[in-house]
Symmetry: C5
Subunit: 95 residues, 5 copies
């Protein structure tokens, strides 16, 4: 999984019918030091996140392993809101 | 999912029989600031898009989760036409 | 899908039994302007292509969605021979 | 599979229910010479690893082929703790 | 599929039980001119290869389409030992 900050929202009215009702978030990818890498991805929000929250997302077929995304043309899903992580004993992020 | 602008069309007569009747679009990938990255991908158009429209596409096995692409050798599908997105409260694109 | 030129052929006698009878092509990836990117991939040829032809190939699990490749350890398949594509009204390639 | 060093731990309380009880590790990717590449990934720990251990992880749908991760939105899993590897007869790492 | 030279071996005693009995090889990726790219991957050896041999490997879910790897957390498998390949009529490698 990759780490990201919820950077924004996206609206799409004309879409695959199976995607109706899903929320899309624009995610800004983070490195392990909690710095933005400059890469973005659009993910389905399976949890109800807010702008600025730090999350984990899963890509590929794993993004369809939630009740919300199963069988849908979705290749990225937010599957966790991060509380904290540490590297080598140093806390890099705390919610 | 990734953001892209529909840049052109592609015609292929001699192809896997299961692909008959599908439309192919050449997509120019966009970053979150609505700038073209220079990367291209060819995707099946599941929605009937026009040149210049901004879309989202799904890759990998997720590209086969539409009625049009199920069970076909297709690894990228346009699954939404984007109305708008914003980053940090700033609108980056509006249709 | 990605665009490529059929650059060469590959022979492998000692292989997974399920791959017997398949033809392998060395593909040189093309960008949307029909220029070689310098990247190569080996793909199963599901169509019977010739050296120099411009093709589309599918990657990942989508490469197994042909009668020839189903259930086989193959992650790239040529699924179309390209007739033409255009970007912004300009023809970039014609067979 | 890729090689990595277990660099840290991650805690996420608010997550997809199917992920309850799983442990997340922040992995620092290694090259074949046992040097860190600077890339990080978050993986589910299917083995009970400790900080500093050298492991192999699998990505994509293959990350769901363990009892712990089956059917869950997980795209990276630690599936082995490495004892040793060698390149061209030279030992690059020993536990 | 990608081309690679078998560069070394890897031993891992503590691993997912379903991986028992599999052999792991460290592969050094080759470009189409038979030059090493500097990238490495660890793959399951489904064929019994020796150090220095030139092989093809498949990635992702396709790596599980062999009797040896089916249903196992393996995302790269050696599926062919290469005899020869040529580009534009020029032989780039012969076993």
């Amino acid at each position: 999984m990759q780490l990201a900050r919820v950077a924004g929202t996206l609206v799409a009215t004309d879409k695959e019918p199976s995607l109706d009702g899903l929320s899309f978030r624009v995610l800004s990818q983070l490195d392990a030091d909690n710095q933005e890498t400059g890469s973005y991805v659009v993910a389905v929000d399976a949890l109800g996140t807010g702008i600025g929250e730090v999350v984990m997302y899963a890509s590929g077929s794993s993004a369809r392993q939630t009740e919300m995304t199963e069988g849908r043309p979705c290749d990225a899903v937010i599957m966790a809101i991060v509380d904290t992580w540490e590297i080598g004993g140093e806390e890099k992020y705390r919610k």
